[in-house]
Amino acid sequence: MGVLDHIWLGVVAVFTADPIFTLAGLPFSTTIMMVVLGFLGGIVVGATPGLGGPFAMAISLPILISIFGFEPDALLPVLGFLVGIMKGSTVGGAVPAILFNTPGTPDSLMTTLDGYPLTKKGKPGKALRIAHFSSVSGDTFSDIVLITCAPFLAILVEKFLDFPEKAALIILSLAFVSAVVGRNVWKGMAAALLGMFFAYIGTGEDGYPRLSLGTDGLAEGLPLISAVLGVLIIGEVFKALEDMWHEMREKSVITNIKMKGDQKLHFSDIRRIFPFISISAGIGTMIGALPGIGSTLAATLGYATGRKVYKGDTPFGEGAPEGVAATEAANSAVAGANLIPVLSLGIPGNVSAVFIILATESIGGFNPGPQVFSLVPDQINQEMVYAFGLFTTMIFANGLNWTFGGVFMRSMGVMVRVPKQRLLPIVLLLTLTAIYVQQTSMFAIYITLFFGLLGYLMRKLKISVLPFVIAFILANNLEEAMRQAFAVTGSDPWFLLASPISVVFIALSIVVVVFFARNQKDLG
């Protein structure tokens, strides 16, 4: 079976498997419905200040697994929903930024700089249309790069990297994420090491589960979902509640702005903003492909580069449509590209990718990594079918975004009225319930709250949580790769330096840490 057969099977799996109903003779599959629901939900969540894609992914994942179960058939509907949320929340995030000067997520902060002045000038409709067009363009470009690059990169990895090189590559990725994310390299590294250490509790090959203190609760290991959702979501909820408690909630007055003049997006507008979209889409895609560097930096760099090349009358920061375009194209272009390290290397680079990994780990049948794209003569590689199914859902979600996304997005201004201080306690209960129904143990809730407290403390001490989460996920893969590498090199203690490629990876790890330690600055 060739690559084209696998692509076709992936497309067929998305569009025809498990149809819910038929419309004009065309089957409407479960996966397609889940992409649509995820996409619409993602826009709503993105448009709600204080929430964002990761929140929605975290809450929905256990519910989705409850609905679809743990069989591989569940993969595409669940991944389709998560992809929908990822895409929807990216465009939805611009709504409160443009209409109310309230960035729903850090990525949208730069959108407020020109988006809100455009609203004040009576052009909110035009600003939203520009944001939508730029966001979808950047996202589409990024997806094209993902679909064309990830398989080739995976094939190269599978061909040239053996166990020692794979272990060295994981070390390089962890070093890169620790060094680049956050304000302090040493804090980033400490977070990653702590994440690895917690992952080793209750695991191992010996009959006695290591570091379990003789307790039954720890003997099974710390549940991945408790650790990830605890640090990422519960920690963020605690921190956000404290911030609101400090502020005693500002009385946000929603001003009704009257629209003045032409609100449509014309071809002349597109021609004007297109160079900025192109530059920012390139920047966002490059940044997205590197593990650990998020869309906030992409938005900042896209905006800064746009300002440098801009020669228009309205300065950036005073309502220049090009400013909105540069920011939105850059932060949206991160979305697709950040799946490149996941699918080609099995290494999650950001929070959305973490949830894709979490879904595949929970369900089984699909282990993102270089083996996904390996061809077996006369056989179907089911993992490759799922990968192309995933790409199909991304393309379909982009199609939704181009056609209906703009209209739905422009109707979401009302979400800014949702009181955050009432929403977040409900998110907390929802997350704890979702974890309980999956783990059926109060111990899992206590572990989640422990990790929530840890996530809160890390945020208070300005320690980035992303290295912790990524290290927790990769820790056992690294140990397994090291055990295998040690075995295949005949118990060579220097197995990490056994080949030129692994030497380069280890040397790069050291260079990255030393470089960023010498030039400590906030890139997060």
């Binding site: 609905i67 302090n184 690895m196 090959e205 290591r210 404290e242 201080q421 209960l429 300005k462 906030d522």
Partner: protein, 193 residues
């Protein structure tokens, strides 16, 4: 100076934790060594990965502490890090709201069943009733309500009827969301009984 103090304090804590893990926890709580020899074949033992991580954490924490102590003066404009008195007050209130909610969630059902039994109801144990209406909802609804309402109360610093209604509706919606469509799902704490 607050940032550096917190970073140095964190570094000291991590150094102590890493050293204790390396020299006390790992030797006493892992049954295989760093490497294992079985029939002349040497393999990596279960202690290898945690030992390497704890050792690396020890080194990184020392570097974190040293750089924060000597380089702190250069970071005048760094964002404020650390916990203040207000943070501890908030944490205490948060713990009370969440703890009360969880306590009610875990104990309400069994305690009510015990009370009914003690008054001669003879309805059996909570374990037998964990899937029966209304017992299966008692803990989740009451505990969930107090958790959500308590946290809203903490943040808004006042009791309000609208917050109570929002909490009741949220808990009921979550109960319906999980319990009605899925027969095999158990709301907390029923899976533990």
């Amino acid at each position: 100076m607050q940032n550096e103090k917190w970073t140095v304090g964190l570094a000291v804590f991590l150094v102590i934790a890493a050293a204790a893990t390396l020299f006390i926890w790992i030797p006493n709580d892992i049954e295989t060594g760093v490497v294992e020899t079985f029939r002349r074949r040497v393999t990596i033992g279960d202690a290898m990965a945690p030992t390497m991580v704890a050792a690396a954490l020890l080194v990184v924490s020392i570097l974190m502490g040293v750089t924060a102590y000597f380089g702190g003066r250069q970071q005048k404009h760094a964002a404020k890090a650390g916990l203040d008195k207000q943070s501890f007050t908030f944490l205490l209130r948060l713990t009370i709201a969440v703890g009360l909610g969880l306590g009610l969630m875990v104990y309400t059902g069994p305690v009510i069943v015990d009370i009914i039994n003690s008054f001669g109801g003879e309805i059996g144990t909570y374990r037998h009733l964990k899937a029966a209406f209304p017992y299966k909802y008692l803990g989740y609804v009451l505990g969930g309500f107090f958790m959500v309402f308590g946290l809203i109360r903490v943040v808004e610093n006042r009791f309000s009827a609208s917050a109570a209604w929002a909490s009741i509706i949220a808990v009921l919606v979550l109960t319906i969301l999980y319990d009605v469509p899925f027969e095999n799902l158990l709301l907390p704490p029923n899976g533990d009984h």
